[in-house]
Amino acid sequence: MDDLIKALETPENPNIPEIHTGDTVTVFVRIKEGSNERIQQFKGVVIRIHGTGNSASFTVRRIASNGIGVERTFLTRSPIVEKVTVQSGGHTRRSRLYFLRQRSGKRAKLRQKFTS
């Protein structure tokens, strides 16, 4: 029966690579302004990956220019997400990085993960 639901769901976006919590990513978001469409970038750290199928989502946290933390949650299979690029991986020991909300400045940096 689950296959029937899968048949209906949107296929995975080939422009989204495998992402992990702690990764620094840039999300390219389609934005409609009246009749024209443009693409906005949202760059930050992935602090949560949630769900499966069409309900799958991930949350990106970035620090805006005024020093205020901004979090945005994207539905992974939404047509609004044009593509995602991974800038770097971060070393984490947990899957949800909510502790970053309490930290600021240098302490909010994750140790970089190097992949061979």
Binding site: L4, I5, N54, S55
Partner: protein, 207 residues
């Protein structure tokens, strides 16, 4: 004729053209066969009887098999009547294509049984205070009426009892997707009953 019998598969969300996520219930509906046409001359009212889900021959009684054999139909597990004046032929098969995307439908199902439920769950009473020396009053119904006048509890007073397992209709649901290949209909919103529960899809009465 617009009507189908189906089974609830489960819920998910789909994206519309603007990228909005829409909650939908997936229903595996049809193919249904017209097992009998009831007419005013013969039966006093007009309706169409549909059959759904093929099963093994030994699961049906001789009478049921004979009824289906009249139109050379396979053994069908469920038979349901739909009141309609539209002309259909006996033996005809109906698929999800009788409906179109964007149309509105009513979905009838049997709600999940919740057993003997208290008044908080069954009617949404607030229950009693949780603190200030309360004992055994947390989910109590409170007063059920006045004293000597009227000297009885009014009929229809909401009290604990069997909840669920009722026939429930979800009205005016929009069809957001149809997949004829897999006999699937996705309907916006929720639908009564458990997964694998039998549901009846009809044209919406209040469009």
């Amino acid at each position: 004729m617009k009507g189908l019998i189906g089974k609830k598969v489960g819920m998910t969300q789909l994206f519309d053209d603007s990228g909005k996520a829409i909650p939908v219930t997936v229903i595996k509906a049809g193919p249904c066969y017209v097992t009998q046409v009831r007419t005013v001359e013969k039966d006093g009212y007009s309706a169409v009887q549909l059959g759904f889900e093929e099963t093994k021959t030994q699961r049906l009684t001789g009478g049921e098999l004979g009824h289906l054999k009249k139109n050379d139909l396979p053994p069908l597990k469920y038979l349901k009547e739909f009141r309609t004046d539209e002309e259909v032929e006996e033996g005809q098969a109906l698929t999800v294509e009788v409906f179109a995307e964007g149309e509105r439908v009513d979905v009838v199902g049997k709600s999940k049984g919740r057993g003997f439920a208290g008044v908080v769950k069954r009617y949404g009473f607030s229950g009693g205070p949780k603190t200030h020396g309360q004992s055994d009053r947390h989910r109590a119904p409170g007063s059920i009426g006045a004293g000597s006048t009227p000297g009885r509890v009014f009929k229809g007073k909401r009290m604990p009892g069997r909840m669920g397992n009722d026939t429930v209709t979800a009205q005016n649901l929009e069809i957001s997707r149809i997949d004829p290949e897999n006999n699937i209909i996705a309907v916006r919103g929720s639908v009564p009953g458990p997964k694998n529960g039998l549901v009846v899809i009809k044209e919406a009465r209040k469009q």
